[in-house]
Amino acid sequence: MTTTLGPADYPLSVRRPDLLRTPTGTPLSDVTMAAVVAGDITNEDLRVSPETLQMQGEISDAVGRRQLAENMRRAAELTAVPDEEVLAIYNALRPRASSRQRLTEIAERLESVHAAPLCAALVRESAEVYEARDLLAPEGE
C-alpha cells in the first residue's frame, strides 16, 4: 500500500472493493452465490485478512480513533493464530489463571511463532500488572 486510507474510502466493501481479498487470496468480488454453490468458497474465505484489518486501522486512525486502530492492528496479528489458541490465551489472561512464566511463554510464542509483537506486548503488560496486583497464579500452575 502506498497511500494511507481515510474516511473517503469507507466502507471498503463499497468504495474500495478492489482492495479486498479473503485470507486465501480470493477477491471479495468472487465471493458470490455461484462460487459458494460450486464449492469454491470455504468458511476460511469468509474471514478478514490481516491486510484488510491494517486498512481498517488506517481509517480508524484517520478519523481520530487511536485505540480502535490499535485494536485493529492487534487483530491483524491474531488472524494468524488458530481459534483454539486464541481462546487458550484469553483464558490464560483471566485473573490468577497463569503464572508469570506462563504469560511470558505466551508472549514469546506470540512474537516468535505468530509474528504478533503488539499482542505479545499486551500479554507482557498484563504480567507486570498482575504481579503488582497479586493476580498471578503460583509458578508451576
Binding site: P7, Y10, P11, L12, S13, V14, P17, L20, R21, T22, L28, V31, M33, V36, V37, I41, T42, N43, D45, L46, R47, V48, S49, T52, L53, M55, Q56, I59, S60, V63, G64, R65, R66, Q67, L68, A69, E70, N71, M72, R74, A75, A76, E77, L78, T79, V81, D83, L87, Y90, N91, L93, R94, P95, C119, L122, E125, V129, Y130, R133, L135
Partner: protein, 572 residues
C-alpha cells in the same frame, strides 16, 4: 405534639382515605425505592466519597489520576491511564473548567469534534464533574450532538421461554421487518444455543436482509458461534468499574482487551457491556457512586479499542431505578459513552418498573435525542418469553412506540407494518428453518409448527418440541462443525435463494471488516452505515439527522389512521 389525625378507632390502624387507597393500588407502588447510602456506593452520581479530579503527567506517563499516585493504582487506574486517556491533551483538557466543558456540550455552535478533542483527555472524576452539572434536558441536548452515528437505530431481543427455535425465527423475521437493525437472543437451556442462533439468523434474513444477530452466551461459546458465522456480532462482554468486581467476574481489562482483538481478528463486530449499579449489586462498589464506576468502565472500553459499549445500567437497572436521580444518571452514562466516541447501545433493556408512565419516562432521554441503538433490547417477543428477564418494552408496546414516533416526529428505528406482510415473513422464516432442519437431519419441524409460527403471539401458541431430541440435534450441529456457509448452501438449494443471498451478504461483511468501525450497522442495501460515512453532524436546528421525506412518510402510518377525504376509510 398530640396527633390531630382522625383515628378509625379500630385495631387496623389509622384510617386512610379512599384517595390513599387508590394511590396505594397504583402499579408504581409495586416498584422498589430506597434511600441513598453513599458509603456503600448506593448513590447515583453525587457522592462526597467520589474522588476529586486530578491528573499529573511526567515524561508522557500519567503518574497521578484523580488524587491517586501511580504507585497506588489499581488495575483499572493503570489501564485507563495507559490506554484510555490521550496523554498529549490530558493536562490541558483537565485544566478546562468543568462548567465550560458542560456548556460546550450543550452549545450547538461547538462541533462534536471540538468537544472530543477535550474529552479524550479527561479523567473519570473530571468526566463525572462535567455531567454532574447537567440536568436531564441538557444531557439530551448533548446526546443529540455527541452520539456517534447520525441516523439512530434500534435493537431487539428475540427469545423463547421454551427455547423454541421456530418461534425465535418467526419473531426475528417480524422484528427485522419492523425495523430493528440488530437482533439478540439468549437461552433458558444453554445447550439449545446452536439451534436458536440458527433460527435467529435465518429469521432475521427472512425479515430484512442485513439485520445482524447475536446470541448472548459465555464468552468462549459466543466467540465460537461467531467464528462459525452462525451469529454476526457480539455484545455481552461484561466489564466492571472496580478491580474486585472485575476479578469476581473472572476477567481483567487485559483479558477483555485481548478478547476485543480476537473478535476483530475474525471480522466480527463486538461491543462491551457495562452499566451503573453492577458493582453495588455485586457487593463491592468501594464506596464510589454508580456513575463514577460506570465512567471507569466506559474508559476501560475505550482503552481496549472496542468500537462500542452497551450501557444504560442494563441488567442492573433496578438499582439506579430505586435511588434519587438514578434515571438521570443512566442518561448521563450514555452521554459519557457518546463523549468518548464509542457506539452506544443505550439500555432501555431490562424491565424495571410496573408503571407504564415510568417505563415511558425512562426511555425519553434516549429516544428523543436518538442513540446509536435506542434500546439494547426491545423485546420482540412477549415479556413472558423474554429470556433476558423481560424488557422495558415488549411486543405489546409496538403500536404505542410507533405512535410516539409519529406524535413527536422522532425516529426510534421502528415502523408500522401491515399484518399481511408480517404474516408472510413469519411464514417464510419458519419454512426456511423447516428446510434447514430437514437438510441437517435435525428433529423435524412440522407443517403445524410452521402454521403456528405464522399466526402466534407467544411460545404457548406453538406445539411442544421434543426437547431431548432437539438438544441432541443442537450438539450434533456443534460436533459436525456446521457453519454459516453450510446454512447458506442449504437455503440456496431448498428454494430460499433470497434468504441465502441475504445471509451470504452478511457473511461477506466479515471479509471487508467494515462492521468493525464505530457504530456500524447494515442498511437494506447491505451498505455499512458507521460513524464515518454516516457520522453525526448535528450543529443546531436544521442540521444533523432530521426525520423527513420518505422515512417520515413511513412513520406517519399506524395501524388505524383515518382517511382525510373519506372518514369511513382507513389508510394504514
Amino acid at each position: 405534639m398530640t396527633s390531630t389525625l382522625p383515628s378509625s378507632g379500630a385495631a387496623a390502624g389509622p384510617r386512610t382515605s379512599k384517595r390513599t387507597e387508590m394511590l396505594e393500588s397504583r402499579p408504581v407502588n409495586l416498584d422498589g425505592f430506597v434511600e441513598e447510602w453513599p458509603e456503600k456506593g448506593l448513590v447515583a452520581m453525587e457522592s462526597d466519597f467520589d474522588p476529586a479530579p486530578s491528573i499529573r503527567v511526567e515524561n508522557g506517563v500519567i503518574v497521578e489520576l484523580d488524587g491517586r499516585p501511580r504507585a497506588e493504582f489499581d488495575f483499572m487506574d493503570t489501564f485507563i491511564a495507559d490506554h484510555a486517556i490521550d496523554v498529549d491533551v490530558a493536562e490541558r483538557a483537565n485544566a478546562v473548567p468543568s462548567d465550560e466543558i458542560a456548556r460546550m456540550l450543550v452549545n450547538p455552535t461547538v462541533g462534536r469534534g471540538e468537544v472530543l478533542d477535550l474529552t479524550r483527555g479527561l479523567t473519570p472524576a473530571k468526566l463525572l464533574d462535567v455531567v454532574k452539572l447537567m440536568n436531564v434536558v441538557e444531557i439530551m441536548m448533548a446526546m443529540q450532538k455527541m452520539r456517534a452515528r447520525r441516523m439512530p437505530a434500534n435493537q431487539a431481543h428475540s427469545t423463547s421461554a421454551r427455547d423454541n427455535p421456530i418461534q425465535v425465527a418467526a419473531d426475528a423475521a417480524e422484528g427485522a421487518l419492523r425495523g430493528f437493525a440488530e437482533l439478540e437472543t439468549t437461552l433458558g437451556v444453554l445447550r439449545y444455543a446452536p439451534l436458536v442462533a440458527i433460527g435467529l439468523q435465518i429469521g432475521a434474513q427472512a425479515g430484512r436482509g442485513g439485520v445482524i444477530t447475536q446470541c448472548a452466551l459465555e464468552e468462549a461459546t459466543e466467540l465460537d458461534l461467531g467464528m462459525r458465522g452462525i451469529t454476526g456480532y457480539a455484545e455481552t462482554i461484561s466489564v466492571y468499574g472496580t478491580e474486585s468486581v472485575f476479578v469476581d467476574g473472572d476477567d481483567t481489562p487485559w483479558s477483555k482487551a485481548f478478547l476485543a482483538s480476537a473478535y476483530a481478528s475474525r471480522g466480527i463486530k463486538m461491543r462491551f457491556t457495562s452499566g451503573t449499579g453492577s458493582e453495588v449489586q455485586m457487593g463491592n462498589a468501594e464506596g464510589r457512586s454508580m456513575l463514577y464506576l460506570e465512567i471507569r468502565c466506559i474508559l476501560m472500553a475505550k482503552g481496549a479499542g472496542v468500537q462500542g459499549l452497551q450501557n444504560g445500567s442494563i441488567s442492573c437497572i433496578g438499582v439506579p431505578g430505586a435511588v434519587p436521580g438514578g434515571i438521570r444518571a443512566v442518561a448521563a452514562e450514555n452521554l459519557v459513552c457518546n463523549m468518548l466516541d464509542l457506539e452506544c447501545a443505550a439500555g432501555n433493556d431490562q424491565s424495571f418498573s410496573h408503571s407504564a408512565m415510568r417505563r415511558t419516562s425512562r426511555l425519553m432521554p434516549q429516544m428523543l435525542p436518538g442513540q446509536d441503538l435506542v434500546c439494547s433490547g426491545f423485546s420482540a417477543v412477549p415479556n413472558s418469553d423474554n429470556m433476558f428477564a423481560g424488557s422495558n418494552l415488549d411486543v405489546e408496546d409496538y403500536d404505542d412506540w410507533n405512535t410516539v414516533q409519529r406524535d413527536l416526529q422522532v425516529d426510534g428505528g421502528l415502523r408500522h407494518v401491515r399484518s399481511e406482510e408480517i404474516l408472510a415473513v413469519r411464514n417464510r422464516a419458519a419454512r426456511a428453518l423447516q428446510a434447514v432442519f430437514a437438510e441437517l437431519d435435525l428433529p423435524r419441524i412440522t407443517d403445524d409448527e410452521v402454521e403456528a409460527a405464522t399466526y402466534a403471539d407467544s411460545s404457548a401458541d406453538y406445539p411442544l418440541r421434543e426437547v431431548l431430541e432437539d438438544l441432541k440435534g443442537a450438539q450434533s450441529v456443534m460436533d459436525r462443525g456446521v457453519t454459516g456457509l453450510d446454512l447458506v448452501k442449504i437455503l440456496e438449494r431448498t428454494g430460499f435463494s433470497d434468504i441465502a443471498e441475504n445471509y451470504l451478504q452478511v457473511l461477506r461483511q466479515r471479509v471487508s471488516g467494515d462492521l468493525l468501525q464505530t457504530s456500524a450497522i447494515l442498511d437494506a442495501d447491505f451498505v455499512p452505515q458507521a460513524a464515518i460515512n454516516d457520522a453525526n453532524d448535528y450543529a443546531g436546528p436544521g442540521t444533523g439527522y432530521r426525520l423527513t421525506g420518505e422515512r417520515w412518510a413511513e412513520l406517519k402510518r399506524l395501524r388505524h389512521v383515518t382517511s382525510a377525504e373519506n372518514p369511513e376509510e382507513e389508510v394504514s
